[in-house]
């Protein structure tokens, strides 16, 4: 029991969880609208795409370093999939649209992975460069603009798992079916990271590359795999975003990476690699989604949003960096707890 308490207090996730509780209580007290059914569903709904992005950022940090290309991979691959569906007049199940998008996403991710692995360049610089290239392809070559979705995608976006209506305010909210995709991805990520050799390798690689190599992991293949998978995940996020907005919006993707990275780091994922949990990803994303969604409920003007997000990142990272140092000096090894 004592050990569990100690373990919980030493982890970033617990702090984030406490902050979430306090913040939600404050919002509830001031507005009475936080713990209402439609607000909860709204927050879950806004978390869907960031949660998938968070997986990309998480995998990249744990194994190598930052990946900032996922919003543009999402934009370009979902554009290609939507465009192909439109041009061919495809009207079957949406799953094929996802598969097409994932194919392109994997391809773009593989480009990232190849350059990073082959030359050992910093992943930040490489992914910055490739996302600039993908943006050039999207807006320059394809001249992407807003477009309507084919009927099957539109209907998929409209379909809801759950629909609630607030009795007092009359505001309604629906949970789209894309929520199931997120749940599926997180379960898959959990199983792969914790119960397969490749998943162990991701942590080993981030913890200490040389040791991982000596232990027999093919570090280059794992790193390449992580960035390729990231491309596929980003593509799924892109299609989810597109169907949820019921329109393809090319300009809305770029710039989403910073908040996601912040969320993942707040959740306790270590920038230097080898450590981080999926629970942390979810909690970090939840906290920042709450900040963006709910500050307005307390009467804080929208233009204060960035200040809050920035402050959260700075304070959160300062805390987790100093606790990380303490852990290191205590001589504890890195572990992959979820």
């Amino acid at each position: 029991m004592k050990q569990t308490v100690k373990k919980l207090t030493s982890r970033a996730e617990s702090y984030v969880f406490v902050i979430i509780l306090v913040l939600s209580a404050v919002i509830q007290l001031r507005s009475g609208l936080f713990y209402s059914n439609n607000n909860i569903v709204d927050i879950v709904r806004s978390m869907i795409v960031p949660l998938i992005y968070a997986l990309c950022a998480y995998l990249a940090f744990v194994s190598t370093g930052p990946d900032v290309s996922f919003p543009l991979i999402a934009a370009l691959s979902s554009y290609l999939a939507t465009e192909i569906a439109l041009k061919t007049g495809y009207d079957g199940p949406v799953i094929l649209v996802f598969i097409i998008a994932v194919f392109f996403g994997l391809l773009m991710g593989a480009v990232n992975g190849l350059i990073i692995v082959k030359f050992n360049f910093p992943s930040l610089i490489v992914t910055l460069a490739t996302s600039s290239m993908y943006s050039g392809i999207l807006f320059g070559v394809f001249e992407a603009s807003r477009m309507d979705l084919p009927e099957n995608m539109y209907n998929y976006g409209k379909a809801s798992l759950l629909s609630v209506k607030n009795a007092t305010t009359g505001l309604g909210s629906t949970l789209p079916t894309t929520f199931l995709i997120v749940v599926g991805l997180y379960i898959a990520a959990y199983l792969v990271l914790n119960h397969t050799m490749a998943g162990r390798g991701v942590f080993a690689l981030g913890g200490d590359e040389v040791s991982a190599q000596r232990a027999g992991f093919n570090t280059k293949l794992i790193r390449f795999g992580v960035f390729t998978v990231n491309g596929g995940l980003a593509a799924i996020a892109g299609v989810c975003y597109t169907v949820m907005s019921l329109k393809y919006l090319p300009a809305e993707f770029a710039g989403g990476e910073m908040v996601v990275i912040a969320a993942v780091i707040l959740g306790g994922t270590r920038m230097s690699g080898g450590f981080g949990t999926l629970t942390g990803c979810v909690l970090g994303t939840m906290l920042l989604t709450m900040v963006t969604n709910s500050l307005i409920l307390v009467g804080i003007p929208v233009y204060f949003q960035k200040v809050f997000i920035g402050a959260f990142i700075v304070i959160g990272t300062a805390l987790s960096a100093s606790s990380g140092r303490k852990r290191k000096s205590a001589g504890k090894g890195v572990a992959a707890n979820v």
């Binding site: 930052p66 610089i125 001249e143 233009y303 200040v307 920035g310 700075v314 990272t317």
Partner: protein, 341 residues
């Protein structure tokens, strides 16, 4: 022809300067030659060079800031937003005190606004440096957070709108030219390049920045106070960003919290193009300065081909960055092989 004599004259000088800088000069001359042949009339005009000079100074300054941070082993992603915050603060200050003031006081108010902007830039930079040095947070993450913070503060003080209405005389810095030939803003850039070159080459601080970037641990054991060096490094970056913000304020006659967000990527591109090692420790100011000139010349040249969409530029920058990284990597590998054999 002109390029040939220029390289010929510099032959003796060439052997002394950094091989990367000479490579960059060659690249520059190739682009220059191509531009002169393909678009003789419009490229080889005084107006074109003046535009190039004017346009490069803002992000050129920010690139210098990013550059010295990268030499110290970090990075600064917040330069653009420090610049915007400084621009907005200066604009608001002038708006408040200078609009109805007589000419004499107006001058004083303008000086005050410039000093205020520089001070804010220095404080923002020092704050970055403090977080990087004292709390040991990776620089990328610090500046990722503070960029949101500074942008947020800028949005709050400007209430999310564009700030304009500054005194006419202030706009001279951004639009005017010395002797009607050299744009003032380019002059500011040039002076900063000279000052920073001197700082990095001939002062203790410069040497220490290189040492900390090469190996922070050995620098520490050599008795260097890494924290102070890093705080100063980021402070300089904040200061030059403030200069950039002032220049863009005077050129556009307005300032906005999210102006120029694409400059961040461009600055990193320039710095890596200029030969700074992303892991820190090597690179020099002159390389970055030539990188700035190359990028803007290429950009202006691309503008002269109306059938090339502006969006292709993103693609070209990204591809150029990767190609240069790979080229530098291959050249370095060959160099190491030569040394070891």
């Amino acid at each position: 022809m002109s390029s040939k004599t220029a390289t010929g004259k510099k032959a003796g000088f060439f052997s002394r300067i950094d091989p990367n800088v000479s490579r960059l000069l060659v690249v520059f001359f190739i682009i220059f030659l191509f531009g002169s042949i393909a678009k003789t009339g419009s490229f080889l005009s005084m107006g074109n060079f003046q535009t190039i000079g004017k346009q490069l100074s803002e992000y050129g300054l920010m690139a210098l800031g990013v550059g010295i941070c990268m030499i110290s082993g970090g990075i600064d992603l917040s330069t653009v937003y420090i610049a915007n915050l400084c621009g907005i603060s200066a604009a608001l200050f002038m708006q408040k005190y200078a609009t109805d003031a007589p000419a004499g006081t107006q001058m004083m108010v303008m000086t005050g606004a410039v000093l205020l902007a520089l001070a804010i830039g220095a404080v923002c930079g020092a704050f970055n440096g403090l977080l990087v040095a004292r709390f040991n947070i990776p620089a990328m993450l610090v500046t990722l957070g503070t960029y949101q913070l500074y942008m947020g503060i800028a949005i709050v003080i400007s209430k999310g709108s564009t700030v304009s209405g500054i005194p006419k005389s202030f706009t001279i810095f951004g639009t005017g030219m010395l002797f009607g030939i050299i744009p003032y803003s380019f002059l500011v850039f040039l002076l900063t390049v000279v000052a920073l070159s001197f700082l990095m080459r001939h002062t203790t601080l410069g040497t220490r920045i290189y040492l900390v970037g090469t190996n922070a641990k050995s620098a520490k054991f050599a008795g260097i106070n890494n924290n102070i060096v890093l705080i100063k490094t980021y402070m300089i970056s904040g200061l030059v960003s403030a200069l950039a913000g002032l220049l863009s304020l005077s050129r556009l006659n307005s300032a906005k919290a999210d102006f120029g967000s694409s400059y961040t990527m461009q600055c990193i591109l320039i710095v890596v193009l200029g030969g700074v090692n992303p892991n820190g420790g090597s690179g020099n100011i002159s390389g970055i300065a030539i990188g700035v000139v190359i990028l803007q010349t290429l950009s202006s040249l691309l503008n002269m081909f109306p059938n090339i969409s502006n969006y292709y530029r993103d693609f070209i920058w990204g591809a150029a960055l990767i190609i240069i990284l790979i080229a530098n990597n291959l050249i370095n590998a060959r160099h190491t092989r030569k040394l070891s054999s």
